[in-house]
Amino acid sequence: MTLVDIKGLDVGYVRHRRVRPAVAGLDLTVEAGEVVAIVGESGSGKTTTANAIIGLLPPNGRITAGSAVVDGVETAGASERTLRRLRGSVVGLIPQDPMVGLNPTQRVGHQIAEAVRLRGITGAAVPAEVLRFLEQAGVPDPELRARQYPHELSGGLRQRALIAIALAGRPKLIIADEPTSALDVTVQKRILDHLGGLVREQGISLVIITHDLAVAADRADRIVVMRDGRLVEQGDPATIVSAPRESYTRRLTAATPRLAPRFDVRDQAVPEPILTLTEVSKTFAGNDLRRGARGFNALDKVSVTVPRGRTHALVGESGCGKTTTLRIALGLETATSGSVVLDGDEIVGRSWNQLRPLRRKAQLVHQDPFATLDPKFTVGQSITEPLVSFRIGNRRSRQERARELLDQVQLPTSYLDRLPTELSGGQRQRVAIARALALRPDLIMLDEPVSALDVLVQEQILQLLTDLQAALGLSYLFVSHDLAVVAEVAHTVSVMSHGKVVEHGPVAEVFTSPRSPWTRELIDAIPGRRVVDAA
């Protein structure tokens, strides 16, 4: 039976009185009990398609042509009342970001009960149903969790609570919009596996929307590749991955990072270190609100060395202390004990002003491309800011340098006058890299620089980083939760878990013969086994 039947669907967004098409002439069907993955880069119209199916387009979204029939009901141009009957009971949605998907002022159980009550269940039967769905969603200790508020749950548990809400309406179809892109790999794997098993067990259809071909290939019965609002290609995962017909699909497959270390430095002499952290510990005070009232040992005798001209990666699950390590290495956070030596200078215990000259040696690139640039600054101003801070050059020579830097990060020089809102995520990250390069530092610390970008952009940025390293002789300290990304760029790696370094060595050695169980778990969690095996 066909559950979703989309024919010639056109969706556009009205902006400044013009309709910009987002989806054009899309044909798509989803059978009952089928798992379909919609894959594409950002702006390819995959989320728009999903929103159009359940009538959740933003106010400026318009369905301009075509039809979308869900469970026998036409949703294109349908009234709010018709759509409301579909939502929850026929189509369940798992939103993208578990951090904001739940109401922070209501207990988790209450929010699931809301969905249960919509099915007409009342009275004493509701709490029992709530617990049943929480359990189905794989939440351990459901009685406790139902009584907690969202902020008391980890990201993974929140995502499971959202899955429970979607399940609670007993839908025929679940749409999962990038369900795990905000979670780290191990949690992502557990949740996706669980969700996949669940829908197969209960015969629910599942539409996974993702930018990651690897995630899709592992779980879907059928993959639909979209680009610029059009369907590029569809077929079963094996065919799409191993024998794609379209060049675009081939590019997607090629861009998927695989766990093949690019650099093998096992037999090479280790260059002298540019940054050495020796037995660095960090304890957050018990009353520190950000860490909860526990007196938290964030780092426990962490030693890390970054060789000159090479990339050293710090990997681990979220909360393992890798970002704290990086912030201490940069002097943004103070270590409780231990020593940090940057290019021969000890930085622990230095005041901010004493640290300032060292800023010219080490720079930082942030994770979130949206918040790392001042929205009021033009690209040119952002890039030249470190030069202004250190009073280097005059106005004209700074402009000259800004052009040169834009050239190095492969952006057109016409972008100097652009504001950050006019750039895409990948372009913003390039600007952030250009800014970090402005002072000609020896070492750049990269805090998850590609985790917010989709696969194709991610590949470009990683390539850019490698090229810059070769051209300028840079050293990188690269923080990431994604081993596949690390394999692409890093020479050496330290695996961290619960504030300790559990394993370190050349990437080629650590990734091929991991000794620590933590490393093995991280490696197993990497999506795309099917892609890698097929390729």
């Binding site: 990201g155 202390g321 943004l332 979130d368 009021k376 800011e385 800014r435």
Partner: protein, 296 residues
């Protein structure tokens, strides 16, 4: 420390060939504003009142002080737009001549509130800790006293005049500015671009002036327009209560107060000046609301 990435990149970049940058952005915003008729009307009205406050002769040829026993308490007509008062003076001309004190005092009050409020808010938001606690308790004390009572006591102490009224009203609206600024500074202070600037070697002064202040400014500007309305009402209230200009000087509050004894027989004496002031405040509110929507 988390790997939580708020969102994947979803918005499309501006095509390379399209004009971008600050100027294009400004033009786009202005075009958007120009498409709102009520907003345009409000702006024109506010401009008209401000201009008429400084050059009332542009809009009326009649003398606001010339009594005319033959034309006492006449209803609005073509000759007398707002009618005449009980001494036969032209009300329209009196309303226009009555605005300078209010408008000037409002502008000074806003300047006081902006400078003091921004300063207090930035200092307490930026330094935090003890400084923040002390300053904010001071603000709390100010908030606890009703604004009009505070203004009344200040005017009683300083006497009447443009500057004392401006000080009285300005001090009463400082807390709002300080609070709003502090909240914005607290928000902006933790954003990665501030940290990026610090990591780039920028001094705190530079970060404060170039990053935190410009990015905290939006909501404060909206509040300033909104509080212009509040200040006008407060000043009119002061003169309504008798803390205004001495007769025969015209003043919005005094005009409304003088007319209230004749509400049944000559309704225009109170209602038309009242309407004039009410429209001005409404216009300012609408402008501030539109700007708020725009900054969102």
């Amino acid at each position: 420390m988390t790997t939580a990435v708020a969102d994947l990149v979803t918005e499309a970049p501006l095509p390379a060939e399209e004009a971008g940058g600050r100027r294009a952005n400004l033009i786009a915003n202005l075009v958007q504003l120009a498409r709102k008729p009520v907003f345009l009307l409000s702006v024109l009205y506010v401009l008209f009142v401000v201009v008429s406050a400084f050059w009332p002769r542009l809009f009326t040829s009649q003398d606001p002080y010339e009594t005319n026993p033959a034309a006492v308490a006449q209803a609005p007509s073509a000759a007398h737009l707002f009618g005449t008062d009980i001494y036969g003076r032209d009300l329209w001309s009196r309303v226009l001549h009555g605005s300078p004190l209010t408008i000037k005092a409002t502008l000074i009050a806003l300047a006081i509130a902006l400078v003091a409020g921004l300063g207090l808010g930035i200092v307490s938001g930026f330094f935090g800790g003890l400084v923040d606690a002390v300053l904010m308790r001071g603000i709390d004390v100010l908030l606890a006293i009703p604004g009009l009572l505070l203004a009344l006591s200040i005017v009683t102490a300083l006497g009447y005049g443009t500057v004392p009224v401006a000080v009285a009203v300005g001090v009463a609206i400082v807390p709002g500015f300080a609070r709003t600024t502090r909240a914005e500074v607290l928000r902006v202070k933790t954003l990665p671009y501030v940290e990026a600037a610090r990591a780039g070697g920028a001094s705190w002064t530079r970060v404060l002036l170039r990053h935190i202040l410009p990015n905290s400014w939006g909501p404060v500007a909206v509040l300033a327009v909104l509080d212009a309305g509040v200040a006008i009402i407060a000043i009119a209230s002061l003169s309504f209560l008798g803390f205004g200009a001495a007769p025969p000087e015209a003043e919005w509050g005094t005009l409304i107060a003088d007319g209230r004894n004749y509400l049944v027989t000559s309704w225009w004496l109170s209602l038309l000046p009242g309407l004039f002031v009410a429209l001005l405040v409404l216009g300012l509110n609408h402008i501030s609301k539109t700007l708020q929507e725009l900054t969102r």
